[in-house]
Symmetry: C2
Subunit: 132 residues, 2 copies
DNA sequence: AAAATAATTGCAACAGTATTGCAAAAAGAT
DNA sequence: ATCTTTTTGCAATACTGTTGCAATTATTTT
């Protein structure tokens, strides 16, 4: 974890390590609220800033879906400030409401005449393995 | 427009017609802020409620993307409260920041072993026709 | 066409989410 | 150990959205 921060030219602080630890303890994407609950005592503003920094540096990525759903998950690929590139899809279970980052073998190509496509994000909804 | 509201069992009111008119005047997806600006005098709470109702009834759909991007667009398919089904992708231009609902011929199939997929939403980012 | 009914609106108050500026504290470099 | 720069924590503020309730308006019934 310390190396991850250093590789992104971020200082290693207790706060950042605490937040990273929470991310690593969760397989699935988590909400800001969940982080708040698990942090114990903390400063909200610092948390928002930490999240923003992590997103900019490509440590975590944001997943948003209609209905004010907003979650965060660790990047597994090597992302950066400019572009997050994930070869996985975001799956939301309609039963347990968990959001999973799932790898797929053949990531579909999208072609649109006249449009230059730099990044594609795929979201799916349904029933997950555990709830099925 | 009146028939659209009636078909969804909603009362025809000036406010709703005004909001619908704004949607029809825009080819691309628009933000709540844009609607507010174009409405002239209005009540914000009523607008939020109108938007919520329209989404629930399948008149408009929400498009969300990382970075607190949230836009709204008319549904062209016949959507309903339970599920919005669009055979188009959402394209965001990195240059003009517009969000387009674009039809594609071959909407990709997504398969995930063990997961039941009910809906798929595809988002793309790049450079649009006009900006290219 | 008027009265009854039911949905919608507008206001007040409030809640949640997020940002900015700034001084103090902490991390990393010399 | 000291210096420099980043990060934190606090105060204040802004934005986005919601709830309850009374007044108004649209539709239905008579």
């Amino acid at each position: 974890m310390k190396n991850l921060l250093r590789s992104k030219k971020l200082r290693v602080t207790d706060f950042r390590l605490a937040v990273l630890t929470i991310f690593e303890q969760h397989k699935n994407a988590i909400s800001t609220e969940q982080i708040e609950n698990e942090l114990g005592e903390f400063d909200r503003i610092t948390l928002y800033r930490t999240i923003k920094t992590f997103i900019e540096k490509g440590i975590i990525h944001e997943i948003t879906m209609p209905g004010n759903i907003k979650k965060l998950a660790l990047c597994h690929d090597n992302c950066n400030a400019k572009e997050h590139q994930h070869q996985h899809i975001h799956f939301r279970c309609n039963s347990c409401a968990e959001i999973f980052c799932l790898d797929i073998d053949d990531y579909p190509e999208i072609n649109l005449k006249g449009y230059q496509i730099d990044a594609v994000e795929i979201q799916a909804k349904g029933i997950c393995k555990n709830c099925a």
